[in-house]
Amino acid sequence: MDIVNLASAQQAVALLFSEPQYWLVVIPGIIIGLFFGATPGLQTSMAMAIFLPMTMYMDFLQAMLFLTAIFTGSGFGAGVPAILMNIPGTSSAIATAFDGYPMARKGEHNEALGLALGSSTFGVLLGYILLFFLIKPMSLFVLKLGPSEMFIVILWGLTLIASLTGKHVVKGLIAGLVGLLVGTIGFSDNGILRGTMGLDILADGIPVIPAMMGMFAASELFKLVKSEFLVEDESQRKVRISYILKGFRKAFSYPVILIRGSLIGVIIGAVPGVGSSVSNLLSYIETKRRDKDPDSYGKGNPKGVIASESANSTSEAGSMATLLALGIPGGGATAVMLAAFAMHNITGGPQFIREQMDVVYAIIFANFAQAFLLIILGLLLIPVLASIIKVKMTYLVPSVLVLATAGSFGLTGNMSGPGTVLVFALVGWVFRRYNFSVPAAVIGMLLGKMAEGSLVQTLQISGGEFSYILQRPITIAILVLLIFSLFGSKLIEKLTKKAK
């Protein structure tokens, strides 16, 4: 089997330059994405859904370029509030906030934003290069992933909880497991209603993104009321392009972290339903675990930002792989793209790959260009977005709370969003005060329903026989990887000590 179809690649280049309007939609797309990503509460999928009707008047390729441009811009944009306000605009930027926000509080916001931009553009570029070479083999591999493999991948995500908690490991585990249970509230896959306390709005479960906004942002804002500015030192409260560029360049001085993050992003991003929400955390934890000074993470280590941003932006290529090759959306954003497919009477999947490989390659090539455009537009727009650090806390705290509240309404379409932000802001404040890990609880909530769904499916397929797992080599392989990632370094350390 040929991995790359050269004739189709040539046709793709010709196709892209046949009509100038293909490129006219890319710049507005990236700006829309940056804007939506950087506004807490506005999601990538929401931006794409709002602008989806416009693609009706475009041809299929132009529509895909417009939508992927929004996707690219918002992938980086979500990191901006994560760094400046500790609000991960989407679940894919959770790990960016871990070190990005402490960097901002130390006055290193310019560098952190530059690091995020550098890592994001690298991630998008490498992700699509990998997609170019791997789209055919990946489509075959993803088809082989069943619920048991999905469960093990989720379990992998969950084991991160223990590593996220520093010296309060037991409290971290409690927070993560409680989060996992909270994530299963509402109707189960089998139609059983649990834990709603009679509230109809909880039938679909706790709205996770508003809960995340409450736990991460609002609870932190309560704490900041006493501070005068986000960055206490006035001399460091400046937005400087030179420092942003320094951060941008610095991202490339950690090639191993960038490449590892991108590989994790592309692989996990290709798993439907898991995607960038888990990949940024996996990459962060792997980087922290392998570092000589793991205790410096969470306190403003630039490597944390690079690990997270390189992985979440690469997930875009991963999720595009499953969409293009299988017609399966990996998440909200690709689900909107699937709607665009339907609007143009196109069905993704092996037949699409076989018959319209030139269009697939054209989308991939256009994304190479988008990565470079993101650098230019990002550098132009970051100073506007970063000027937030000059605002007094007296103004910033209520303004961001208002933004989070309106954004959460936008996510749910009713008052359950703002209500969730309020409840989880209080829970988050208590968790922070008594050292129960907030990120662990959020990860648990994100993965709860997914974990239960894959476990139930595994049970149904296997008929309750545990030996089923032994017949799934990919499950075993991922399980071995999981165990190795948990205990491997300690084992190697012990063996080296013994050898010495």
């Binding site: 409690i174 059983i192 649990r194 209520p398 309106a406 309404f409």
Partner: protein
């Protein structure tokens, strides 16, 4: 044995979490005791309860400096009042009033600034979201079909 205030508060948090876990497991079991329903909830609840018991009996004195609850309480109350009032006051009026009250409480005593900022920011946010979102938002002054 003397218990510090911090330790008592920490114990209360652990007990609250354990109570929630126990209640949720029982609630799920009462809804359906089938294997499909309990396959994840039962093992996770059991492990969490064991960890809560362990943490309850082995907790150590935490010497880290903590936020003072009393400084945070007014913000929490104001934010709660804002969220609860939205349905009645709408996003436009509710937001303006919340911003004005927050600014004043947190030390901004220049009334033109308080009123000006609250009106401008409040209405911009309410208008922006009402225009961008595909569903109606509650409003007092801005047009809505909520």
């Amino acid at each position: 044995m003397t218990l510090s205030k911090e330790k008592i508060a920490n114990s209360i948090v652990i007990l609250c979490l354990a109570t929630f876990v126990l209640w949720y497991a029982l609630n799920a079991h009462n809804a359906s005791s089938s294997l499909e329903n309990m396959i994840l909830i039962l093992p996770i609840a059991s492990i969490t309860l064991c960890l809560c018991i362990y943490e309850f009996f082995t907790q150590k004195e935490d010497l880290e400096k903590k936020d003072d609850f009393l400084t945070v309480l007014p913000v929490m109350i104001l934010f709660a009042a804002y969220v609860f009032s939205l349905e009645y006051l709408g996003f436009d009026l509710g937001t303006v009033l919340f911003l004005a009250a927050s600014l004043y409480i947190h030390g901004e005593k220049r009334l033109p600034w308080v009123i000006g900022y609250s009106l401008v920011y409040g209405f911009i946010i309410a208008y922006f979201f009402s225009m961008m979102l595909p569903y109606p938002m509650p409003m007092t002054f801005l047009p809505t079909d909520y």
